[in-house]
Amino acid sequence: MGNRLPPPGRLGAETMTGGPAAYFAMGGYAAFVWPAYGIAAAVLGGLAIYSWRRHSASVDALARLQPPAGNRE
C-alpha cells in the first residue's frame, strides 16, 4: 500500500495526461475506485441529510409547542 516512494515523474497531476476517459478508467480499476468513493459519499451524505431533516423537524416541533415569547433555543 504505497510503502515506497513512487518512481520519479509519477508525482503530481500526471494522472490526467491520458485525457478524461483514461482518467475515469483509473488504470483499469474504475470498477473498484469509483464505487468506493460513491459508497462513502452515499453513506455519509445520507446520514447528513437524515440528521439535518430530523434536526429541522425537532426545531419546528419545539417552536409549535412553545409560546411565541418563549425561549426558542
Binding site: 508525482l11 494522472t15 453513506v43 409547542l65
Partner: protein
C-alpha cells in the same frame, strides 16, 4: 491525582460547565455552521488531492486511491467507538444526561464509518488480494466492531424506559472496548492478509509523503464532519426531549397547532 485536589476540582468544574444542556445549546449553535463549512472545504480539498494530485502506487496503480477513504474511515470507526465508550462511562458514573446523548448521537456516525471501511476494504481486496472478503483477524474484528455499533443502537432502543435502555447500552459500549486493541494489534498478533500499520507505527510512517498528506487531509475532513454531525444530532436529541417534556407536562402552546399530535409521537431520542 489525589494530591492535586484543586486542579481536579477545577477540571470537574470545567466539565460540568460544558455539560450544562442550555450552555451546550448556545456553544454548539455557534460551532455548528463553522464545523459544517470547514468539513465541506477540507473534504473537497481532500477529494481533489486523493483523486487528482496523489500519484498512483508503483505496485497497486490507481487502486491505491481507495486508501484515502478506507484508512481515514477505519481511524474514525475506532476513535468514534472510543468516544462512545468514554461518554458511556461518564453517563454511568455521573449519570449526566448529556454524556448519554453524546454517546447515542455518535454511535450511528461510527457505524457509518465502519460500514464505509468494510465496503471500501472489500472493493480494494478484490483486485489486490483476489477476494472480496477473507476471515483474517483484522477484517473479522472490524466486522465485530460494526456489530457492536448495531448492537448498541438496538439495545438503547429496545426498552420502553429510555433511561434503562441508555444504561444497558452504556454497559455494552464499555464491554466492547476490549475489541479496540484487538483491532489495532490484530495485524501484529496474527498472520493476516491485511497489511500491518504504515502510518501509526513505532519508527514513523512508511508511506510516501505524497500519499500521507491527502490521507491526513481526508482524516481531518472526516473528523470535522463527525463534529458537525455529533453536535447536530445532540441538539436534535435535546430538542426532542424538551418537546416531549412540554407535551407530557402540559405547557399550553399558542394556537394549539400541536393538538393533533398524540403523546405517543414523543419518542425517546434517536428511536
Amino acid at each position: 491525582m489525589r494530591y492535586n485536589a484543586p486542579a481536579e476540582g477545577h477540571a470537574i468544574a470545567m466539565l460540568s460547565y460544558l455539560a450544562n444542556p442550555a450552555r451546550f445549546m448556545r456553544i454548539s449553535g455557534v460551532a455548528l455552521p463553522w464545523l459544517g463549512a470547514s468539513s465541506l472545504v477540507v473534504l473537497a480539498l481532500g477529494l481533489v488531492w486523493s483523486l487528482l494530485l496523489a500519484p498512483p502506487d508503483y505496485q497497486q496503480g490507481e487502486s491505491v486511491r481507495i486508501m484515502f477513504i478506507h484508512v481515514p474511515a477505519a481511524w474514525m470507526a475506532l476513535s468514534v467507538y472510543l468516544f462512545v465508550a468514554i461518554a458511556s462511562a461518564v453517563a454511568l458514573v455521573w449519570r449526566h444526561p448529556l454524556a448519554e446523548i453524546a454517546a447515542q448521537a455518535a454511535a450511528p456516525i461510527g457505524a457509518a464509518f465502519t460500514l464505509i471501511c468494510l465496503a471500501t476494504g472489500s472493493l480494494w481486496g478484490r483486485p489486490m488480494w483476489g477476494a472480496w472478503w477473507v476471515w483474517d483477524a483484522r477484517l473479522t474484528s472490524v466486522l465485530v466492531l460494526f456489530f457492536l455499533y448495531l448492537g448498541y443502537i438496538a439495545l438503547v432502543n429496545a426498552f420502553d424506559d429510555a433511561s434503562r435502555g441508555g444504561r444497558a447500552g452504556s454497559l455494552l459500549a464499555l464491554v466492547g472496548i476490549v475489541n479496540l486493541p484487538i483491532i489495532k494489534f490484530s495485524v501484529d498478533w496474527w498472520n493476516t492478509l491485511h497489511q500491518p500499520a504504515s502510518v501509526l507505527r513505532l519508527g514513523g510512517p512508511t508511506i510516501a509523503v505524497s500519499m500521507l498528506i491527502p490521507l491526513l487531509v481526508m482524516a481531518l475532513g472526516f473528523s470535522l464532519l463527525f463534529g458537525w454531525l455529533l453536535l447536530l444530532r445532540m441538539r436534535t436529541a435535546l430538542n426532542e426531549r424538551k418537546a416531549r417534556a412540554l407535551r407530557l407536562y402540559g405547557v399550553p402552546a399558542a394556537g394549539g397547532a400541536e393538538s393533533g399530535q398524540p403523546v405517543a409521537a414523543a419518542r425517546p431520542a434517536w428511536r
